[in-house]
C-alpha cells in the first residue's frame, strides 16, 4: 500500500493555495503516494498544511505555498524528513495537542467524503447505539450530558428534545440551523466541510430520539463549498443505506434534505429560519408557541445548530456522563472557540469550558498579528466589545452573562489599537438596519436612527445630548424587539460606549 499525503480541501486552505499545492505535488509524486484531500485541522495559520504518513504518525509541513515546493522540499516530504517548514508530528503541534477535541475528533484526520474512513474512525457508532435504545433513553442521555445549544442561545438541548418527544403530532421534523452568519465564526463550516457525516449522524439520532422521520439542513449560501460537500455526503449516506427507509438495516427511517438560504442574516433566528424553509419571507414570530411544539408547518420541530447536532454522536458513544465531566458549573462539555480578526494563530480551538479569554487569545493564539491588542468582540455581531480589564474572564456562559456579554457561537475577534469603537458601534447599528426582518419597529427604524445618532456622535455634534439619546434608543430596541437582532444589537453599542468612552467623548467642539 502506498503512503498517504494529506492536503486539506477546506475553503480557507484552498483560498491560501491548497489546490495549487495539491496539483504540484500530485504531478511530482503522484505515482508513489496516495493523495487524500482531508478537512482542515483548523490551524489556519499553518494552512496549507501538508501531512505525510510516517512510522511515528503523521508529519506536518506548513504553511506550504506553491512557491515553497522545490527539490529540497520534495526530498524532505518523500522521506517525511527534516525541512525548515517541517512541524514534526501533527498531533504534537502545541496548539493542537492541548485541545480537547470531542465534537471535532475527526477534523482534518479523515477524508470527509470517505464513509468507510468515517466508520473506521468510530463513525456511526453513536447511531448504532441509538438504534439499541428507546427514544426516551436517547433523550435522557442528551439530558445527562448537559449539552446546551451551540448556536448562541445556549438553551439546554435535552429539554428541547424532551418537549418534541412529548408532543403528540402526525409529523415531526429535525431542522439543522447551518446559517452561521456571525462574524468571526466558522466552526459550523469546518464541520460541514471536514466531517459532514458527523452532522448527518447527529441528525439521524435526533430523529430517532423524538420520532421525526424528516430532516432539513438550512445552509447559508455564503458557504458554497459546504453545500457541495454536504450534498455529496447526503447522497453517499443514502447509497450506503444510512439515510432512507431502513437506516442501517433497521426498520427506522430518516430522510434528509439540504436547503440553501439566500443571504439573510436574520434567518439564523429559528422562527425566521422556519418561515424561510417554508418558502416565505424570513419574518420572526413571537414565542410561544415555541418551535419544539409548533415549528415547521406548525409541527413539533427540533431546531439545533450544526455543532449541537454534531456533538450528539460523541455523547451517545461515550455516554452523557462522560461529556458532562468536561466543563464546569452549568457549562458542560466542550466549546469550539474560533479565533479570528487580527490574530497571530487564528483557527479552531476546542476546549472544555473554563479557560480564560486571555489564555486562549494570547497564550495560545499569540495575540495580534499587527499592532497592540485593544478590544475583543466575542459572540458575533451581537456580542460585546471587551477591554483588557475583562480579558481574564473565565470562558463559560454564566461568567460572561455576569459581565453583560455572551459567548454566543464561540467566535472571538481580536482588534488592534487602530480600532475606533465609535465606528464599531455605528457598524452594529448599520448591520441591524441592513439585516432586520422589519417586523419590530424599534429594530427596523431604531437601527437606522442609531446610525444617524452615531454619525453625530462621531462628528462630535452635541455629543452629550446624542449620547443620552443613544442610551434611550438602546433601551427601546432592547425592550421593544421580539428577537435577538434588535434587542442584542445594543450589546456591542453599549459595551463599546461603556468600556471605551474615550472613543465617544473626546475633543468636543467649543460651541457644543
Amino acid at each position: 500500500m502506498t503512503r498517504k499525503i494529506y492536503i486539506p480541501a477546506d475553503s480557507c486552505a484552498i483560498a491560501l493555495g491548497a489546490n495549487d499545492v495539491a496539483t504540484t505535488l500530485r504531478s511530482t509524486l503522484g505515482t508513489d503516494f496516495t493523495f487524500v484531500r482531508n478537512g482542515s485541522r483548523g490551524l489556519f495559520w499553518l494552512e496549507p498544511l501538508v501531512e505525510i504518513d510516517s512510522d511515528q504518525g503523521r508529519i506536518a509541513y506548513g504553511p506550504i505555498r506553491p512557491g515553497d515546493i522545490d527539490d529540497t522540499f520534495i526530498q524532505a516530504l518523500r522521506n517525511a524528513g527534516e525541512h525548515p517548514l517541517c512541524l514534526g508530528l501533527t498531533e504534537d503541534i502545541p496548539q493542537l495537542k492541548c485541545q480537547q477535541r470531542l465534537s471535532f475528533a475527526r477534523l482534518g484526520i479523515i477524508d470527509p467524503l470517505d464513509i468507510d474512513d468515517y466508520i473506521a474512525h468510530g463513525g456511526f457508532d453513536g447511531l448504532h447505539k441509538a438504534l439499541s435504545l428507546s427514544a426516551q433513553e436517547i433523550v435522557d442521555e442528551v439530558q445527562t450530558s448537559g449539552l446546551r445549544g451551540r448556536g448562541g442561545a445556549a438553551f439546554p438541548t435535552g429539554i428541547k428534545w424532551q418537549t418534541v418527544l412529548s408532543t403528540e403530532a402526525p409529523q415531526k421534523y429535525i431542522v439543522c440551523n447551518a446559517d452561521e452568519g456571525d462574524s468571526g465564526t466558522f466552526a459550523d463550516r469546518l464541520m460541514m466541510e471536514g466531517d459532514p457525516f458527523c452532522l448527518i449522524e447527529g441528525m439521524i439520532i435526533a430523529g430517532l430520539a423524538v420520532g421525526a422521520d424528516t430532516g432539513f439542513i438550512y445552509l447559508r449560501s455564503e458557504y458554497p463549498r459546504a453545500a457541495t460537500q454536504l450534498q455529496k455526503a447526503i447522497d453517499i449516506a443514502y447509497n450506503k443505506g444510512l439515510l432512507g427507509n431502513r437506516i442501517a438495516g433497521s426498520d427506522q427511517r430518516f430522510h434528509l434534505e439540504l436547503r440553501i438560504g439566500a443571504e439573510a442574516y436574520i434567518c439564523g433566528e429559528e422562527t425566521s429560519l422556519l418561515r424561510s424553509l417554508e418558502g416565505k419571507r424570513g419574518m420572526v414570530s413571537a414565542k410561544p408557541p415555541i418551535p419544539a411544539i409548533c415549528g415547521l408547518l406548525e409541527q413539533p420541530t427540533i431546531v439545533n445548530n450544526v455543532i449541537t447536532l454534531a456533538s450528539v454522536p460523541f455523547i451517545l458513544v461515550e455516554g452523557g456522563e462522560h461529556y458532562e465531566s468536561f466543563g464546569l458549573g452549568r457549562s458542560r462539555g466542550s466549546l469550539a472557540f474560533q479565533l479570528a480578526g487580527n490574530i497571530q494563530r487564528g483557527g479552531l480551538y476546542e476546549f472544555a469550558f473554563g479557560l480564560s479569554l486571555r489564555e486562549l487569545v494570547f497564550d495560545l493564539a499569540g495575540g495580534c498579528r499587527h499592532g497592540e491588542a485593544r478590544a475583543i468582540q466575542i459572540g458575533g455581531p451581537l456580542g460585546a466589545y471587551l477591554p483588557e480589564s475583562l480579558w481574564d474572564t473565565q470562558l463559560d456562559y454564566e461568567a460572561f452573562a455576569e459581565i453583560g456579554a455572551g459567548i454566543g457561537h464561540g467566535g472571538i475577534v481580536l482588534f488592534n489599537d487602530e480600532v475606533d469603537l465609535s465606528q464599531q458601534a455605528r457598524f452594529a447599528m448599520e448591520f441591524c438596519a441592513a439585516e432586520s426582518c422589519g417586523k419590530c419597529t424599534p429594530c427596523r427604524i431604531g437601527s437606522t436612527r442609531g446610525v444617524e445618532v452615531m454619525d453625530r456622535i462621531i462628528a462630535r455634534q452635541s455629543s452629550e445630548q446624542h449620547l443620552t439619546l443613544l442610551d434611550d434608543l438602546c433601551d427601546t430596541m432592547e425592550l421593544g424587539s421580539l428577537c435577538a437582532m434588535g434587542s442584542m444589537t445594543v450589546i456591542p453599542v453599549r459595551s463599546a460606549k461603556k468600556h471605551f468612552p474615550e472613543d465617544f467623548h473626546s475633543e468636543a467642539k467649543p460651541h457644543d
Binding site: 475553503s11 483560498a15 468571526g184 440553501i260 418558502g279 424570513g282 480578526g341 455581531p381 475577534v413 480600532v419
Partner: protein
Amino acid sequence: MLILLDNRSNICIFLHISSAHLKQNMPRIMSDDDLKHALAELALAHRDQLGGLLPLLHAVQKQYGFIPEICAVTVAPIFRLSTAEVDGVISFYHQFKRQPQGKHRVQICRAEACQANGCRSLEQFSKDYLQLDFGESSTDGLISLDSVYCLGLCSHGPAVRVDDELFVQVDQDKMKTIIRELSS
C-alpha cells in the same frame, strides 16, 4: 395568454401576462411566451416540494442570472399565492436580484473580523477602482459589486468571494489582480 397543462393534477393553468412585464434585457432569443413557459415549467417542478418557492427562485436566478420581473406573476398561481406574496419573498432576500447582473459577482466581506484586518479601506478602494457602489454592475456587464456579511474565513480577512471562488488576505494589489484576471 398562456395555457399550460399541469400533468400531475390534470388542470389547466391560465396565465394572463402582459408583455410589458418582460424585462427588456432578457435574451432576445427568448420570446415572451417562451420565458413564461420556461418559468412555469420550473415552478411546476418545485410546486409540490415543501417550501418550494425558495428553491424555485434559486433555480430561476441560476438560469437567468436574475429574477425576471414576470416571474412573480407567472409562478404565483402555480404556488397558489398572490403575486404580492411572491414579490415579497423575492424582495426579502439580498441574494435575489431583480436586474440583470454582471457576468461575475465580486463580494467583499464587511463583517467585524474582516474590519479588524482592514476591509474598510479595501471596500473604499474597490468601489473607487471599479467605480461601482455595492449593488451596482459595470456598464460592460462584466462585474457586479456586492457586500457580504461573513464568508467564514475570519482569521485571514479581508475575505472576498468571486462567484464560487474565495480569496483571503486581500489587499489592494491582490484586488487589482483579481479584477484584472476577470477582465482578461
